[in-house]
Symmetry: C2
Subunit: 328 residues, 2 copies
Amino acid sequence: MPSELRKDPVTDRWVLIAPDRGARPSDFLTSTTRPPVRGICPFCPGNEDLTPDPIQVVEGPDGKWRVRVIPNRYPAVQVEVPLRREAAGIYDRVSGFGAHEVLVETPDHDLSLWELSDEDRARVLAVYRDRLADLRNDRRIRWAMIFKNRGALAGATLHHEHSQLLALPQVPLEAKARWEGARAHYARKERCVYCDVIAFEKSEGVRMVDESRFFVAFCPYASRAPFETWILPREHVSHYMLVTQKDIEDLSDLLGRVLRRIDGALESPAVNFMLHSAPLQEPESPAFHWHLEIVPATLRYGGFEWGSGYYINPTPPEDAAAFLRSFT
Amino acid sequence: MPSELRKDPVTDRWVLIAPDRGARPSDFLTSTTRPPVRGICPFCPGNEDLTPDPIQVVEGPDGKWRVRVIPNRYPAVQVEVPLRREAAGIYDRVSGFGAHEVLVETPDHDLSLWELSDEDRARVLAVYRDRLADLRNDRRIRWAMIFKNRGALAGATLHHEHSQLLALPQVPLEAKARWEGARAHYARKERCVYCDVIAFEKSEGVRMVDESRFFVAFCPYASRAPFETWILPREHVSHYMLVTQKDIEDLSDLLGRVLRRIDGALESPAVNFMLHSAPLQEPESPAFHWHLEIVPATLRYGGFEWGSGYYINPTPPEDAAAFLRSFT
């Protein structure tokens, strides 16, 4: 069965049923996720023929690759699938059209993004921009997100440092909530809500974690998880793909510092991060502000979170920020 | 710091900052949740003085307790806190008012809900009804959910079989999506969407798992997780608290069978379940249909789920249902 998006008829929540990634029922007989693959790492230099042909390769001054973007071998969605929206009895479904890429962020099997040199990390951040700009050319793709699952507790199945890009023909629930929430604020106040938040966090100070010339980092007021940290550009920009080389160099520096603070404070936790840019086909907007959300994976969620959509966070962001500031 | 609800200014998502449950920053130095408590079990007979005074106790014919409802020792919210809504600079917060109870479902330390006798499980299901009916008398409480986290992977910290009840002065995001989604369907069609779903699932058959005189069980079309299973009453009822003794006896029977199928098929997985009833202060409604959602905890969620609000499910519900039907 090819993968498909299916809509819950009550809540309008879509689910990606992606059997190609799995897994017959009997594969769920253990209650754990697949462990990191032992043995040969498909992301290491020399093993390039174990992965599909690359979409983008960035080389260093020595002519060797530094960043390598490849199609996901177990794609949740594929550009080769025709985009088809159809009824399924009383339900709605959309074919598994989209893009699912893997961004191998270093040739070194054991380095994390925050252990890379500022220059190498800047190469990674430039690839994020390039991929979003490239995907925008496919008018069927309305939304894309680059995200990282580092560590088994954060959902990773491979150790070698990488991020993923998932692009869809529709703007998903959470992204729509951010986009429409920001637009509603703008409609009422003619100001960007994220710009308001940056100004307030800077004036309050208690949740600030770090800052650089062009960026700020803080624990958000309604942090969903302990030590959740956001990075935003000081200047209003909706689309990450508009970052300049100067922005990228400054962001590389700050992102490295923030991730090292989290790594130090929590002793190498598993980490998720998500890069939230405006929906791909939207023009630059005064209402939305791109940002990076970093969420250390320290908690397990249960029935309350499933059923309410609320999170219970035992660590006030003010405490988390103070603790992060103390790790330099 | 007492606990409080804080609102994300963009998405209107609330987060419960509940430091009483925690945990100083240094307690997050390991990336795992607290392990089940070793040694003395506070839920076992003989240790009743280790827990706060019970809210409700149900005894068996022998005069010994079978179900015991107690206030959570580490409450996320408390009825003793005055309900206060206030601005916090540019943000919004609500005091940590509400109820957080623990329902100890058996005196036996090692029995699961599905290993109880039908009669003992019916006692538990009757307590669910009693608690919801009782909390409804506090007009400040607008919403309550009974949920179970069984097993460490599902977020449990204690082994002894129990569920929790969390009641809040507002209807949270997911519950509102269900309630308003059902009402929108009713406004358009003058039919309950859940009644439509039940009729369709029965006619299709491929996602049916089991049924009894008054209830049906199936894997929903847009299952968020492998082997997600829903149980609904055939007859339309919005409020679980309206179940009759006959309903409860029949439900006990079916719930036991369905949980044993899941337990057999996935070899004792961790499990979450959530009992979704209409918001507490609402009158009985033709639009909403109470239901029980059972979600085995087999997957870890990562950046994609965090950032999109979509789930990637590798097991089509048709395959899951067929596999569950084969375990009798």
